[in-house]
Amino acid sequence: MSRLRAARFVADLDSSVNMVRALGRFFKGKDHSGLSVGPGSRRLAKLASSPPPALRRLGFIAGSLGQAVPLDRARLIDVEEIDEWVTRQYGAGPFDTVVIGAASGAGVHLAAALGAPFLPQTTLVAVRDLATHPDDPVGAMEALAPTARLVARHNPGVAVYHMHDPAQDRASMQAMAYMRFKRLRLSRAYRDFLEQRLAPGATIVQFECERTWRVRTIGERAYFQFGCLGGVSEEEYHDSGERIAKFLAAEDSPRRSWEPPQTNTRRPDAEWGWEPALGEDVQALADRCGYGLRHLVFDEPQDLSPFVADFHRWWYRRLDVPADRLLVECYVQWDPYWVLRLGVVPFWLRFNMEPSYEELRAYLERAEPYARIYLNLFSPGLASPGFVPVDKWRQLIESKAREHAEVVGVDEDAYPVDTGGTMRFSPAFRALPFRHPIPAPVSADDIDTFLGESAGDYPKVGWR
């Protein structure tokens, strides 16, 4: 019963859940096809992306409704059960390394390289909401506050964030509200996993993303966050101007600006940020069990991408695998299995927005040129402010690749309402012509060696 319930409480598009699923399947020699829950099929993807745009947008909304927990079940949400679900995705071990903490699409490849399961600090539970308007953040906060408080009370070891982003998440927000659960204590499931399924003297690697966001406290351990990392800056969410007015007009919204509630504090970002309170429990457990504890600290989730890409180049060179093929992945459309099978260097885009574009551009400008660059894009269901069209991405990679550049796994006619995108990316990776055996995992000490030998400079990443 609890197994089924926990499975119903995880959201298929959540970054943490996709890290867990991708790694769980990677350790079993499987790919992250269809986000590990659906089919990976170009035919089905084509079929899904063939209806007219309005129908496809409705498809996004209907899909969100299916992901969301009905309000009467919110009282049953038990983070302990979700954590049991997480630990069930991995084998019996023993594991030499485990990763715990903030989600990161670059981090998923580092964890795969380390052969390390990932225990997320934050997971998303979507709840149904057909009543509030995306452009009425105060109304949404007030309507969902009783639910956020209820869930926080039932789960004393977590902070609950009601995250409300009417830009990037607009399509899904027609049907659901985002509740993110950030663990402040080690749950029994995580504790059991760390005590029983790690090898003696194993290393715990803690991902610590220091990104914070202004929030409004709506209860004990319950917060409302307006906006999230993407194409709109934190300041613009809270003081929206001409660009947002145009966007709202294009979306047929009755409003021309956002009027979010007054905030009263800053907290770790709802989706990506690391809450240090959990670190105390991890440190105590590591001391008690004789595990090593290493910290990978980064300012923004995207900051880990160049670091992880360069680490893979260094590692591939050690393995005599060509290190001049780059695969750019976007949001949760990552696949550690195919990255290693293809022998491509992974570079993760947090989203298909201007800041991620700039990060990729800066990386390609400073990195040793790649011969081949492949790029895949996640379809968010609409072109929100800061959205970068496919052509611009293509121009960027074509200008930087020495031999070949290609956008793969994207139906460019349907994009960004490419309903079949999640079914298409993995077959597109599989179709690339290279093959290599999956290498043996590296150890945490290899990261020290990499940093010692690397010419790269990573001022926004700390490894200690």
Binding site: P70, L71, D72, D129, A145, L150
Partner: protein
Amino acid sequence: MRVKDSVVVVTGASSGIGRATALAFAKRGSAVVVAARRQQALDEVARQCESAGGRALAVATDVSEFKAVDELARRAVERFGRIDVWVNDAAVTLFSPFLEAPLEDFRRVLEVNVMGYVHGAKAALPYMKDQGKGVIVNVSSVVGVVPQPYTHAYSMTKAAVKVLSESLRQELMLEGSRSRNIKVASVLPATIDTPFFNHAANYTGREVKAMPPVYTPERVARAIVNLVRVPRREVVVGPMGRNLVLQAKLTPGLAGRAMAIQVDKAHLSRTKPAPATEGNLYVPAPGAGSLHGEWNGRRRTALRRGLSAAAAVGGTVAAVRRRRQTALRRGLPATAAVGGTVAALRRRRR
């Protein structure tokens, strides 16, 4: 009791059942004294009552204060000379998980729904005893028999109202001939299409909906008028309410479980979150009030009746056809089948 020319006091008359009751009495020629907290709404109800042919007096009253209720009774007698019928209908409600319900809100529901009725009976009875006759109608609810989760306070008060009616009735019986013609009755409506649910205090985080099946407030008003004509101890309004009350007597555990599931799935929205609100507990909802809510009680009732009639007709046709086929197989004339059905029905009636 004769309804025409009787003097009727109705509390909670600004909307819903109270308003429908006031109008029903006015249509039948009663003098109506309408009471609630909202003067604007009361004035509108009084105007409608006068348009319907009755005489009306609007007295803004908070039933949780005995002085105000006593003053209401005094003004009714001052204006119309007596009180024949007193309908206690003013009520508020609170939806909340038990531990989340603010104590003061819980207490307020008890104050209005129980003490408001006590105040009404205490204010009306002296006049009725002087007159030697009268009817007190206490509007309870089926949730007074089968309580609901999340409306502990409201369910408690509706059970209390039933008990108050019974207790008063017994006391009046013991008083003998002096009070023989003073009757006390309880009305137990099922879900009624009124604005009541929109005005509820709510801490569940979910929108409150009327739990189907929904009946019209006019139906309750008719039941109250009929109670005055022919007093009875208790009347349940709505077939589903009657089924529920019967089920509670036969299988109380099952009835409770069914009610809990029904409330969770159909009384509170599963898709529409709602902010915490104290509703109209302390401040009445603004505006002129209304008779109906947004739950389409009339349309739903018509639809239910239509479907029931269709099912009855369909069943009869099927039964007749089956008999006819049986008769044909036996070599009897086809008309014998219909004759046989009619004869069978007659036998059953006897």
